[in-house]
């Protein structure tokens, strides 16, 4: 089986150039590629376009890339609470494109699956529909949406093997599998890297064909945004 292993995060992200279009997996701070983001922060690159459901928080995740002014544009469904983000947005330093979450997921899926366009009901009648083709099927209105692809997709999995096969855990799966398929170069960081053959082929979430580089990450913080315990209600 083809071996996709690279030494570490630095090695994995070393050729990402300024101006690249990146996809970064994760929902909130769950399932984000912590090690790769750290390694990106060491690089002197800027003008990145980041496709990611959220934009991290001030001092974690993509928020750190924003703070370092590496990001020119965010494509997300919800950018949440991030003071630096807000400042850059209001000052015009940062461009933001907001996309309905399901449309974002499906556009990324389409990018990996060779589907250049599809129709969805999400956003009909809203400003999301501006400039998009509107079409009726079986009595309901839909928008045409295009695929999304990236120069580099950076994902985080629970386990992976040297052939690039990935298994995710819990809700940390989220956008990671679709992004893995939509990257021209896909970088996967995993908590546990095992030899090809150690994972049950029936249980692979992302087949290795989508992954070009894989490494075992270290020191995962896995920060929790909303720590809630029994008895609490928001």
């Amino acid at each position: 089986m083809i071996n996709k292993t690279v030494a570490n995060a630095e090695e994995a992200v070393k050729d990402i150039p300024s101006g690249a279009v990146l996809m970064l997996g994760g929902f909130g701070l769950s399932g984000i590629p912590e090690n790769s983001i750290d390694a990106l922060l060491q690089r002197d690159i800027k003008g990145l376009t980041c496709i990611s459901n959220n934009a991290g928080v001030d001092d974690f995740g993509i928020g750190l890339m924003l703070k370092k002014r590496m990001v020119k544009k965010m494509i997300s469904s919800y950018v949440g609470e991030n003071a630096e983000f807000e400042r850059q947005l209001l000052s015009g330093e940062l461009e933001v494109e907001l996309i309905p979450q399901g449309t974002l997921a499906e556009r990324v899926r389409a990018g990996g699956a060779g589907i250049p366009a599809f129709f969805t009901p999400a956003g009909v009648g809203t400003e999301v529909a501006e400039g998009k083709e509107l079409r009726e099927f079986d009595g309901k209105l839909y928008l045409m949406e295009r695929w999304l692809k990236a120069d580099f997709a950076i994902v985080k999995a629970w386990k992976g093997d040297t052939a690039g096969n990935l298994i995710f855990k819990g809700t940390a799966r989220n956008f990671n599998p679709m992004m893995a398929a939509a990257g021209r170069i896909t970088i996967a960081e995993v908590e546990e890297l095992v030899p090809a053959g150690d994972l049950d082929p029936n249980q692979i979430h992302t087949p290795g064909i989508y992954v070009q580089r894989i490494f075992q990450g270290i020191d995962y913080e896995k920060r929790i945004e909303q720590r809630t315990v029994t008895g609490e209600r928001s």
Binding site: S77, A122, V128, T228
Partner: protein
Amino acid sequence: MLNKNQIAQRIAKEVKNGQYINLGIGIPTLVANYIPDNLDVVLQSENGLLGIGPFPTEDLIDPDLINAGKQTITMLKGSSLFNSAESFAMIRGGHVQLTILGAMEVSENGDIANWKIPGKMVKGMGGAMDLVASAENIIVAMQHCSKDGQSKLLKKCALPITGLRCVKKVVTDLAVLEILPEGGFKLLERAPGVSVEEIQSKTEGRLVIEGEVPEMTFD
């Protein structure tokens, strides 16, 4: 007048056995507390889980297990996990039958506005546009009026729209209202102690009143 928990409690009565349900952030999340134990329903979290359980005890907290509000949660027996594309496939495909969410405004033809206030920092629509465009039944939980007393049940939404002609029912602190297919808020129930006249005065959209309007009851 109902408080938030009572709005949630009243909405819980709309839940039917066997339903798959998506609960939005805020009051909708509270609905889970009032679903009767004899109903078998499954709560979906659009970040990739069917079968949301209670919040965890301290020792069971798992950063890899959160809901769409980014809160730590648990799973139930029979839960399943999936990616975001599959999650919204479920939603878009109409498999999630009931969506309960908050709103800033609802119009008499069922339009909803809940994602953007011009002039304020826009955080994004998240999954709301997908949810309102998809579920066969959409119930809105909201305050009848804004803090400065303006009706939020309007002829036409003033704020940017999240979805068109999608809301089926609205439960507010004052009333339960059905959106009629031909347009209009049909008044189904009054909150305890709230008069039809008060509801009428606080509803800018067309209010439809047929016969005696009962006061809500709570079991």
